[in-house]
């Protein structure tokens, strides 16, 4: 086998131009695949990070409360009882926090915008101070009622800074107009698309705005030690809550506010709970990941076909050039299988070298662009989930890309290799060309 490898390697070296051309093409495709893979991973990481900060826990127990059939609100009443059940049922909870959910018009002296509100109780939010990177002010000030924490892009739009006053204006669930005056206690760095419309408000202030009492919240956000347990934990929690007499809506991979429109059309009144995972809550943006992955697949497939044709052609040429050599090898006793393996090995070596180079180049490009922090136009931020291009290097994904391309190179080399192996020694030796 070592000899075969050496023959293949030397052969690649002896045909430098051809090897460089084909290896370069393989490296180029790998670079592209690795680069797009890093982008997809970067978007996914940003999405997950911002979602877990702003909108969701690893799992959530949310719910809908309907006073009348036509009016529904994202509320969980008497949530402490449910929190007890959750904490007793799930074995690997990191922590559970109650978050209010709401929408309102946020008005500054200069501008206004519609925002989603996360009502927080800072005493039970251990994650928030760690993950929010503040541009101005302090996260801890969110503990004081009447303060609001906004994000950089919102501050820019509303033309406000820490200490400025604003007004939240809302139509409560009972259809009464209400307002609450707030002060900006901090401006945090943007964390992707989700932070362009979400703000943090103390739960007490949100209750005052929405006219709800302190036994009511929007959802229980459950953070787990092991995210791999989510499907099992969701089933377990569903059974337990149903057993405890709670109405739980059927599983649907949609964000709570999308489901709320459907719930509003239903005729029931009262409380129903909804158990969701983090990816359900941001399902409306995960299509961007599918789009990036789809684009990667399409581009890579097209390029791989071109490379495959190139490899086959070059092997045809190699076989033609080395027909007498094949004949001699067969005449001195080399088996057909080994002849075939010799050519396959050549394509394999070319694949490994090309993809290795491509992986290095792709990773290097991702690292450089990460360091440069390339700004993304506002329109494209819907895809990238961030104001700057972010790439994440996932070794498994990079190795996977290398393996796929090398495998393709190897597989396509089998056809010409098989032809070489089938040559009769006499014919091959007497071949002139």
């Amino acid at each position: 086998m070592t000899q075969l490898f050496l023959i293949a390697f030397r052969n690649l070296l002896s045909h430098g131009r051809r090897t460089l051309f084909l290896g370069g093409a393989i490296a180029g495709v790998t670079t592209l695949l690795v680069f797009l893979g890093c982008l997809s991973s970067g978007v996914k990481q940003t999405m997950l990070e911002s979602a877990l900060t702003v909108a969701t826990g690893d799992m959530n127990v949310g719910g809908y409360y309907k006073v009348t059939a036509g009016q529904s609100a994202p509320l969980v009443t008497d949530y402490k009882k449910i929190q007890d059940i959750v904490e007793k049922t799930l074995p690997d909870i990191d922590f559970v926090t109650a978050r209010g959910r709401g929408w309102a018009r946020l008005v500054s002296d200069q501008n206004s915008m519609q925002v989603g509100i996360a009502g927080v109780d800072m005493a039970h939010e251990p994650r928030l101070p760690k993950v929010l990177k503040m541009k101005e002010g302090k996260v801890a000030d969110l503990a004081k009622p009447g303060n609001v924490l906004i994000f950089e892009s919102q501050a820019k739009k509303l033309k406000v800074k820490t200490g400025d006053s604003m007004v939240f204006s809302v139509l409560t669930d009972r259809g009464v107009n209400n307002t609450v005056d707030v002060r900006v206690c901090g401006v945090a760095e943007d964390m992707g698309l989700l932070t362009s419309w979400n703000v943090f408000l103390p739960q007490e202030t949100l209750n005052k705005l929405d006219q709800t009492n302190d036994t009511t919240t929007g959802a229980l956000l459950i953070y787990l030690k092991n995210r791999g347990r989510i499907p099992k934990d969701m089933d377990l929690l569903r059974k337990t809550l149903t057993g405890a007499g709670y109405d739980v809506v059927d599983r649907s991979s949609k964000a709570f506010w999308i489901k709320m429109q459907e719930v509003s059309k239903e005729e029931w009144t009262g409380q129903k709970l909804d158990i969701t995972s983090w990816d359900d809550e941001i399902s409306y943006v995960t299509w961007t990941l599918s789009a990036i992955d789809g684009l990667s697949f399409l581009l890579t497939s097209v390029l791989l076909v071109i490379i495959a044709v190139g490899i086959m052609n070059s092997l045809w040429i190699a076989i033609r050039e080395r027909t007498r050599e094949i004949g001699t090898l067969r005449a001195i006793g080399m088996r057909r299988r080994l002849v075939m393996l010799m050519f396959i090995m050549e394509a394999f070596c070319l694949g490994v070298m090309g993809t290795a180079l491509g992986a290095v180049l792709g990773s290097l490009l991702a690292v450089i662009l990460n360091a440069v922090q390339v700004p993304v136009p506002t329109g494209a931020q819907f895809f990238t989930m961030s104001s700057t291009l972010k790439f994440a290097l996932e070794p498994a994904r990079i190795l996977g890309s290398m393996a796929v391309i090398t495998l393709c190179c190897t597989v396509v080399s089998m056809i010409p290799s098989l032809k070489a192996a089938r040559m009769k020694p006499v014919t091959a030796i007497s071949h002139v060309g």
Partner: protein, 305 residues
């Protein structure tokens, strides 16, 4: 419309107007304080009981005078009058022009047909212009407001207090009113609004009743009984919007056997998002009987095609 009243509307477009008004009010408070201090020097020898009595009399006198001018029953009658004037005994159809001005955005103009059958509390709004909005509509069924968008072909249940067509107007601006049933009136004073002499009433929502604005202030023309100005306050007490109804028209209704009054123009100013305003012009009103099966989703869908 008198020039003075027009001026009042123009003033209201100035975001500083209410602050100016606020300063005027605080000056008035200062004046009371000045009188109080002067009185204190005059009556330094009097005992504290006398002083308290004096202050109470000084403070309560205007209210007492006004209370004599307009009692609770009279105020309820005024509200009932407003409700009755707006209410149509039969059917109602109006062509309405809506113009929305938004800060830093281009103006939006829309035209809609408003259909009402007040006896059954039915209301339908069908947008006719511009082309992009034509066919969209609202239908009130019981306490639910349904919205239809022909481009989607679906009905959506919306809140009864929805901003109509994205403007500052809401369903109540086009519908009959129930002020006397929903609110408790309180007399603020007799005032001048431009050249009009008006009663200034403060209405607080009765307990157990859900309304969009729990506190409303009305300026009712003494001569005609029509309200000329209205301010809507949020539950927090913050002023949300001010509207002016400077021109009222009337039309004889055979079904009602009386005149139906309607504001020809409504100028609505967003007091939270300063700079946003809406102009509603009720261009023509027709009180002829409408088809029986009009107030249905099917009818609106047919018209939307």
């Amino acid at each position: 419309m008198s020039d003075n009243f027009q001026g009042e509307i123009m003033k209201s477009q100035n975001p500083f107007y209410h602050r100016v008004n606020g300063v005027t009010q605080s000056k008035a408070k200062d004046l009371i304080g000045f009188v109080f201090l002067k009185n204190r020097t005059l009556f330094t020898l009097c005992n504290s009981v006398f002083q308290i009595l004096f202050i109470s009399v000084l403070t309560l006198t205007p209210a007492g005078l006004f209370a004599q001018t307009l009692g609770h029953d009279k105020m309820v009658d005024i509200l009932k009058g407003i409700d009755l004037r707006i209410r149509s005994g039969g059917d109602y159809k109006a062509l309405v022009y809506l113009e929305q001005h938004q800060k830093d955005k281009p103006d939006i103009a829309q035209e809609a047909l408003v259909y009402r059958r007040d006896i059954d509390q039915k209301l339908m709004i069908l947008f006719t212009k511009p082309k992009t909005d034509a066919g969209k509509g609202y239908l009130r069924v019981d306490r639910n407001l349904w919205y239809y968008d022909p481009s989607v072909g679906k009905w959506e249940r919306r809140t009864d207090r929805e901003r109509i067509g994205g403007t500052d107007s809401d369903r109540e601006d086009f519908d009959q009113s129930n002020l006397a049933e929903q609110y408790d009136p309180q007399f603020v004073g007799e005032e001048k609004l431009g050249s009009f002499t008006v009663w200034h009433l403060k209405l607080t929502v009765k307990s157990g009743i859900d309304v969009a604005y729990p506190l409303v202030e009305f300026w009712v023309d003494e001569a005609t009984g029509n309200y000329l100005k209205r301010q809507d306050f949020a539950l927090s007490g913050r002023l949300m919007r001010t509207s002016y109804d400077p021109k009222w028209d009337k039309l004889y209704s055979d079904a009602k056997k009386d005149y139906l009054w309607f504001p020809h123009e409504i100028h609505i100013y967003d007091e939270i998002d300063k700079g946003n305003s809406t102009l509603v012009i009720i261009q023509s009103v027709d009180l002829s009987t409408l088809p029986e099966n009009m107030f249905t989703k099917a009818w609106l869908e047919t018209k939307s095609r």
